[in-house]
Amino acid sequence: MEVKKFTGGISIPHYKSFTEHKEIKEASLPGELIIPLLQHTGAPNEPLVKVGDKVKAGQKIGETDKFVSAPIHASLSGTVTAIEPRSYLTGQMVNSIVIAVDEKQDELELSDVDVETVTKEEVVNAIKEAGIVGMGGAAFPTAVKLSPPPDKEIDALIINGCECEPFLTCDHRLMLEKPEELLRGIELIMKMLSVDKAYLCIEDNKDDAIEAVRQKNTNPQIVLLRMPTKYPQGSEKHLVKAALDREIPSGGLPFDVGAIIQNVGTCVAIYEAVRYKKPLIERVVTVTGQNLNDPQNLMVKIGTPIGHLIEECGGIVKEPAKVVIGGPMTGKAQQNLGVPVVKGTTGVIVLPPDMAIEDMEYYDCVRCCKCVEHCPMLLYPNQLSIFCEAKMIEEADEWNALDCIECGICAYVCPSKRPIVQLIQRTKPLIREMQSKK
């Protein structure tokens, strides 16, 4: 099938060779788990346990009755030692349940449900109970995403296997090693949404994964799309554009154009939640970077501090280093290795001193237009950066600052090294405030 191209975007170095050929390995058990009560988009959970309680692996330990939320589970058995604010990947403190992990772990209790006969309601419930959220990074509760408003007709399911961020290979390895689970997961979502077409989109720098899935796929309703490798191919808006040639309107969501997008990791998690009633207590994390002794794709229990993973991978080679959670284009630099892996953590990247750029001195815009040329939202980042820097909020709004998806390309290409994304990020709340006053 023909794949459309989106305008803008850029090809950037992949840096994926560190881990793309390494099999997913089970990470060793950490001594302590830190499980944030809020690790998704939506309402925070209330703890169901108290300090001193014994918890079992897979036991639900946090829940809320709010609709947009996802419960949390103990990833390992142990004892609750604290329920207190701990540092989270955004740099803020988030109320978390801290568990001292038992040295002896029991096997996780799993059921075996027949996925052929399961009903829609059972699928939704399983997803909800398992606490599944979007595992590509955005961490939006999946049960909510899969229940679009009744007035929106959905005719296409898009599965995002692009993994367009450099360094990350967790989705790549998952597609390669668990194609069967992925395909069954996709079928479950199709059944649930009653759509008869699913498009599995994989960038053409992962041909081995495309081949692995193709060999296992017997369902003609699941269409494999080989996407050109171009950042940000995995962005929701650009994926819908490329796969279906539909443009999500400004401020809209994929279901406005009849599409729902799921990440490949989420599909596998959904399959496991329905088949085995397995809660989302672990995920694949790419622990990588030039500054790490032994980069790996690790199967990690949710709540494991990133410092544990860095040690597992042989430790940091050289300091000063920069430790980033997520991809290098949109991820967050960390100050503290006690920050835990959460459901939306795709990678931990340790950058070497020469790439560990501090906030650089930057210069005036010389209007070279490199950002204009590559902006996938077809904005004018050059103008936006000037308006946002000067706090000209009305002008920034006029030039559509709110439509910026913060992909980072403008700041990546800028020869004046202007922190364009950061300037726009800072201005967005001010624009919303201004709009709400009107």
């Binding site: 005719d155 544990h308 920069k322 100050q335 204009v372 077809l378 990546y412």
Partner: protein, 326 residues
């Protein structure tokens, strides 16, 4: 070590950056000007070397002076003042009295660039501003010219220096030199007008390095060709004479003073082309290219406002096809 807070470097995303910098881009423009400069030195010898050197030194000193006066920090490795100096020099004939070079460079770097906020904020192309200011000030020089005369330097006779420029020959209706020679090199006029070939080599390098937008030069040149054809002239002569090629590839494409919209670049180029033909044919003004670009520099913000593209998602959502229609 798990909870140990160490000093890691924290900054906002993206955490990888392209290697391109302003100084690398400036350096590339310098490299692109090497052929033109070498041709000038080949024909005008010490006159060219001396005049270029004077302009470069003036550019550096002017920048230093204004940065100090205005308390602005310099970019490390910023070549932009030097580049302006070189451009100013190349816009003059090599035999120009050196103090005119000093004045033009001072106006270019000091007034057109630093005074309005420095690189990035200037509305007019600095080098052209300096050059045109001197043309407009020329009547005043009639008085001061004699004072400065003793200061003129003399490096011996060079025949080609007093030769009429092809553009002037065209105006006077003289017989033109063969096109091939004009294209290769024909000394006369400004140093940058000597060899269209040298300019094209430089432009090709800039295109290869992706510093040039083809939209502007192409639309200028196409407009000039079409309009001269309509007016019954020979477009090829117009292409290889005067500052047309330098203006199209190096001056009108200046990042700071040209529109950042794609449609705007074409409108900008076509308008410059029209103005050049009006100046050259309608008014017989040989500096038409410089005037045309400066005039259009002024309109850049208006062009940009009228030609900005619609961003992603601005369209209304298309009706969703029914599930069974696929």
């Amino acid at each position: 070590m798990v909870n140990e807070a160490r000093n890691f470097i924290v900054s906002s995303s993206p955490h990888i950056k392209d290697e391109g910098t302003i100084s690398k881009a400036m350096r590339d423009v310098f490299i692109a000007l090497i052929p033109v400069t070498l041709v000038a030195i080949y024909f005008f010898r010490l006159y060219a070397v001396f005049f270029i050197a004077v302009c470069l030194v003036t550019a550096i000193l002017t920048e230093l002076l204004f940065r100090n006066l205005m308390n602005r920090k310099a970019r490390p490795g910023d070549w932009s003042a030097l580049l302006t100096g070189l451009f100013v020099a190349l816009l003059f004939p090599a035999s120009t009295p050196w103090w005119q070079g000093v004045l033009a460079t001072f106006l270019a770097v000091g007034v057109a660039k630093e005074l309005v906020g420095g690189l990035g904020w200037n509305r007019f192309n600095p080098a052209l501003f300096g050059r045109v200011a001197l043309i407009l000030l020329a009547p005043l020089f009639a008085f001061v010219y004699s004072w400065f005369e003793p200061l003129n330097v003399y490096f011996g006779p060079i025949d080609v220096m007093t030769q009429a420029t092809p553009l002037a020959m065209m105006k006077m209706g003289l017989e033109m030199p063969p096109l091939g020679q004009l294209f290769l090199a024909f000394p006369g006029g400004a140093m940058s007008e000597v060899s269209p070939l040298a300019i094209l080599i430089g432009a090709a390098y800039l295109l290869y390095k992706k510093h040039l937008s083809w939209r502007i030069p192409l639309s200028i040149l196409a407009t000039v060709v079409v309009l001269t054809l309509i007016s019954g002239g020979n477009p090829l002569y117009h292409l290889v004479t005067g500052g047309l090629l330098l203006g199209s590839f190096f001056m009108a494409t200046d990042w700071v003073t040209s529109p950042f919209t794609e449609k705007g670049k074409i409108i900008f180029g076509v308008a410059i082309g029209i103005l050049i033909v009006i100046f050259r044919i309608g008014f017989s003004i040989t500096e038409g290219v410089a005037y045309s670009i400066l005039i259009m520099n002024f309109f850049v913000p208006y062009i940009e406002r009228k030609t900005s593209r619609s961003h992603f998602g601005k369209i209304k959502a298309v009706p969703v096809p029914m599930a069974n229609q696929k």
